[in-house]
Each structure stands twice: as C-alpha cells, then as structure tokens.
Subunit: 195 residues, 4 copies
DNA sequence: GATGAATGAGGGTTCATTCAT
DNA sequence: GATGAATGAACCCTCATTCAT
C-alpha cells in the first residue's frame, strides 16, 4: 500500500501529464497544418489532425493567435537568445549579423506559415505580431547597431524593416526551384555591406 | 416594319456597347475594392460597387482570377513594354534595370492588392500568376542579361527570383513608417551591383 | 410581340412576387415555430420549416429581431389602431379599455411567443421591445387616461405597467386548464375599477 | 499502526463533512449565479463560483432542476409553513391571504430567477415545478378557501392560477421603474375582494 | 444579357455531459 | 468522492456560385 501522499501526487502529476501531452499533440498538429494550409487553416482541421475534440483545442488555445503564438514561441525565444551570443562569439558584428539572419531565415523558411501569419493584416494576429516584434526587434537592432558602429554596414536600415523584409522574402510557397529566399537575403546583406 | 437586319445590327451593336461599358465599370469597381479590401474581397462587394448584378459580373469574369488579371492587364502590359524601351534609352543596362524595377515597384505598391494575390497559394490565382510571369519574366530577364553581359552585376539571379522577391517585399499593409519596400529593393540592387 | 416595357414590368413584378411569397412563407413558418419552440428557436428550424435555404432567411431577415418584429408587426399595428376606434365606439372609456385589453390579450395568447420575446432580457430584442412599446404604450395610455378622467378607474397605474403585466400573465405554456390568463386579467381590471 | 476501523471511520466521517460543506458551498454559489445570470446560467459558472470541480456539482445535483429545487427549498418550506400560521394570527382570512401573498411575492422578487425557471417550458424544470406546486398550492388553497368561506372574496380563482399569476407578474428584469409587480398584485387582490 | 434571390457548404464558438485520473 | 480535461452536438453566420425570371 503506497503512501497516500505519493499516490495523490502521482495522480495529480499524471493528470497534468495527460493534458500536457495533448497540448503537445495539438502544437505539433497545428505546426503541420500551418505548413500545408497556412495559419488560417480551419480550426476543425487542426483538432482532427491532432485526434482531439474541438473543445480540447479551444480549452488549450482560446483564440487562434494563442495557438499560433504557442506554436512558434520556442523558436522565437531561441532566436532572441542567439543574438547576443553570436555577437560575442563571432569575429565581427557583420559576421554575427549574417549568422543571425541565417538563423532567422531558417526559422521562417522551415515554419513558413509564420511569415504569412505575421503579414496578416487581421487583428487576430496582433498579439503574435507584437510578441514577435517585441522579442526580436531589439536583438536585431543590437546586431545592426554594432555593425554600423564597426563601420561594416551603411546606416539607415532599421531592425523592423530588415526583419519584415526578410520575413516577406520568406513568405509564400517554397516549392519553386526558381525562387530561393536565401539568395535574395544574401544580396540584401551584400547591399548593406560597406566596402 | 424596319428591316430585320438593321434592327438586329443595332440591337447587337448597342448590346455590345452596353456590355463593354459594364465591363469597364466592373474593372474600375474591382480595382477600387482590391485596394481597400484586398483581392479576396467578397464578390458581391465588387458587383455592388459597380452597380451591376452578381450574374453580370460572373458573365464577364467567370473566375476571380479572370477579374484580377483583367484589372491589372493594362499595367502589366505597360510594364512589359517599358523594358526594351528603357534598355534603349538609358546610359547603361544597370540604369535601365534600376528604372524598370522602380516602375515595377510603383505598380505593385500602388496596386498592392496584386502583390498579395500573386503570393496567394490558392490555385484560384494560378492563371493570374501565369499571365504575370509569362508577360514580365522575359522582359526582366532581358534587362538582367544585358547588365550581366555589361559586367555591371554579378550573375546568378534569375528574373523570376528577382521579380518575386520584389513582389514579396511590396506585400502587406503599407501604413507603417518603419517599413519602406523601396529602401530594401534599393539594397537588393546594390547587392547585385559589381564594383 | 408585347411592348418591351410591359414585359420588363411583368418580369420585375413576377420576380418580386417570388421573393414576396418566400417572405410570406418564412413569416408563417417563423410564427409556427415561435409558438412551438419559442422565439429562440434555431434559425435552421425556421428555414427548414419554410422549405428554404438558410441564406434566404438571412437575406430577408438579417437578425432574429427583424424576423420576430416582422412576424408580429401586423398584429401590433392592428392593436394600435383599435385603441382610438374603441374609445369612439364604446359607451364608456372603461368599456373601451376592457375591449382593448381583450384584443391585446387575444393577440398575446394566440401568438404567445411574443410575450416571451418581450420579456427576453437579451439586447437582441431591444428593437422589437422598443417598437412594441412605442406603438402601443400611447394607445393604452389614452384609454387609461380617459377612464381616469371619467372617474371610472383609480389613477396610479401606468400604461407600460399594465401592458407588461398583461404580457407577463399571458406568458408560458397555456395547455394547463388550471391557468387562464383571461380570468386574472379580468380581476386586474376589476381591481382598477372604482365603484 | 492505528486500528483500521478508527482510521476508516475518521476518514468516512471527514468525507461526509467535506461533502456536506461542498453541498452548502454549491447551493450558495448557485443562488448567487441564478440572481445575476438566471437559472439557465452555464453549469461551469456555478462550479467555478463555488470553487469545486464540475464533477462534484454533478455528483450532488445530477440535473439542473435538482440544483434549482435545492436552492429554493428552504424558502419554499418557509412559505408553506407561513400559511396556517398567518391564518391563525391575522384578524381575517383575507388579511392572512394578503400577508401570505406579500411573503410569496418577496420570495419571487428577491430570487427572481425562480420566476423565470417556473415559467420555463422546458422539461428540465418539471421536477422543480412539481415540487413547488405540491408544496405551496395546498397552502394557498387553504387561505383562498377560508377567505371565500368568510365571504371576503369572490370564488372562482384557484390557488394554482393565483400563484402562477403572481409568479408571472414577478418575472423578468426588474430594473425598470415603470413596472412594479407589487402594485399589480395589489390590484389583483383588490379585484378578488368582495365589498 | 442582366438581375439578384436562393442555396448550402464551410468555418467559428459554446457548453452540457462524460469519464479517466 | 473530487477533479477538470475531453468530447461533440448544436448554434450562428458568411459568401461563392447557380439559375429562374
């Protein structure tokens, strides 16, 4: 006979574990669906893909923005944390900027539903947009400022502009071999570079 | 009793005049609505704005893509025709390319619903996309090739890629002062330029 | 060959006739459904009962309140017009009041969904409530005032209070032989009467 | 190791105490919620307000009617017991009837969600309705009969009819100064009175 | 040809009720 | 016993598209 406390604890924990697993399942399903059908995909589709009821989805993510934000939060955070680290590790601020842009691009290209969500004019994604901007703009600005201070790039390009530009370049279906956002982004950086 | 022929002819001609006027009205209405509500605006809205019935709109433009294409065909054509002319007029191919890109950008920025339509993954706009590409890609390619041949820009950037990149940069709401697609497009060209 | 004008007119009229018939059908269906399922009955039910599509119902009556109002407007108007007429016809103001109350009661009892709608606290029926009050309160007030002036009833009871009281008494299912709103309303008038 | 019996007993007893407390909490919460959101308030709201789980609520009150009945049982009982007492205390049966009606009215007005519940045509409240009727109708009938026997009121009004009438008059939102159910109920009694 | 009424699929959201923990 | 996560039926509403007039 196990101590009551332990049993209770286990029960409580396992309960949470179930919900957590569901949340995880939902996030995975949403990520997949976002890729194939965009972030405006029918809620029902996501629930079905996750194999849960509609209500379950609503319980975990009351609004669509909540879901989208949750889907991408990890990566947003990882991206934000990489900025200062790269600045410290790399030989030059421009190097760091390049590496960060690459990271950012990878993020957008692989989870490119995000790029679409960010461009959505609807207010539904205002919160996501805000989170995104609040979290990453300062990081990008730090890299840009350092590169400007080091005389490596020309001034005049804001972090919001650069990020949104990169985001835009990454948007849309990416199955056309004639279009590679990375090549254009590289040109963008080349255009920024001072001799 | 008037000659049948004459009556028929008159009727046919006046019908045609009516139909043409209707088509014109619809195109104008659609252009306006696209600007304010995007190319995904409800069909009824356009019909209402034009003051015609829904059926009339469908008769003239069976699919949404037909309508969008028609709305922008004039400008697409103008853009296409400008390519060779600029190449002849300007001092250098790169100059001509720059001027053409500016023209293209103006087109997309002012009728920016178009940029969104072009990116739309839905098949609904496949026809528009195709027309757009078929008409403009060769023009842009001519300019790029000339600039490469003149040693002004580095090779490796295709016309489709450049155009879609510019299109992407122009997409989305444009009321944010922090984001100016023209600045980024300028950087893109700078990145393309050889010293 | 009929004159064009006439043909056009006939066409326009017959078109309208169709729509009018549908509207009529919808009103009848709604009235029936309101009786059996209350004014909060599912919209689909009403559309189905009328044998039309959902969209048709929405076209004719964009909001539920529009539908409810339309269903009862005729009777409301008839009731409003009866007030002054009764005052002129009957021997005494109290007589007229009694007759009008009877009319009003008949209206509520037969279409008793209305009584429920009027009591609904939701804002959805604010418009109906307002129409109802605006239209009938003055009529009832005229009758009450006349009876007071004639010394037939005691003062102190407002028209809104009386009407809402009668409405309340008429509310609810009426298949219980133990409850007859008319008897209570008669008592109410008796209570109002001065010796 | 403590005797098993004792432990079991203690546990069982504490469980019962717990359950009783929970029931009490639920009743209070429900009463509050009924006032603000009506007796049709979402079940979750009540559980949340009580700070217990949904399952707990369902365990104690399997149907909504059970809950509503329980919430009002005390007052229903008090009302039932007041009848004979008033008949004994007051000078005349009519006096007693008036006092009882006042009591009954106070009950309905203060807990006015009840009046709505009683009118609800749904079967959900059949049980409540029944309990309500079974308990109070005889009491009211006793008062009416006594008043009739004393020659104070005219015969012909049943206790069910009177009670339901009063209930109806008390229903609906009560924040409109133009409508006071007590005034109408007073008229009703006046109408009942014999000279 | 033009009209716009009708259709109904499609997507969003709430909430009563069940049941695993 | 208590918990609250999960379920899904039931509503609501919009709009692309068809077709009778």
């Amino acid at each position: 006979m196990p101590p009551a406390d332990q049993a209770k604890g286990a029960s409580a924990r396992s309960k949470r574990a179930d919900a957590v697993r569901n949340q995880r399942t939902l996030l995975d399903a949403a990520a997949e669906v976002f890729v194939t059908s965009g972030v405006d995909a029918p809620i029902r589709l996501i629930a079905a893909r996750a194999g849960v009821g509609l209500g379950t989805l609503y319980r975990h993510f009351p609004t669509r923005a909540d879901l989208v934000t949750a889907v991408y939060r990890h990566q947003i955070d990882a991206c934000a944390e990489a900025g200062p680290r790269l600045l410290a590790e790399r030989d030059s601020p421009f190097d760091a900027l390049g590496a960060w842009v690459e990271l950012f691009t990878d993020f957008l290209v692989t989870k490119h539903g995000l790029a679409d969500a960010l461009r959505s004019d609807s207010d539904r994604f205002a919160a996501l947009h805000t989170h995104f901007i609040d979290r990453l703009t300062p990081v990008c600005a730090g890299l840009l400022d350092a590169a400007v201070a080091a005389g490596e790039i020309r001034p005049g390009t804001g972090s919001y502009e650069l990020m949104r530009g990169i985001g835009n370049l990454c948007a849309g279906r990416d199955d056309d071999p004639r279009y590679d956002p990375r090549r254009l982004i590289e040109l963008l950086l080349k255009g920024l570079r001072l001799p």
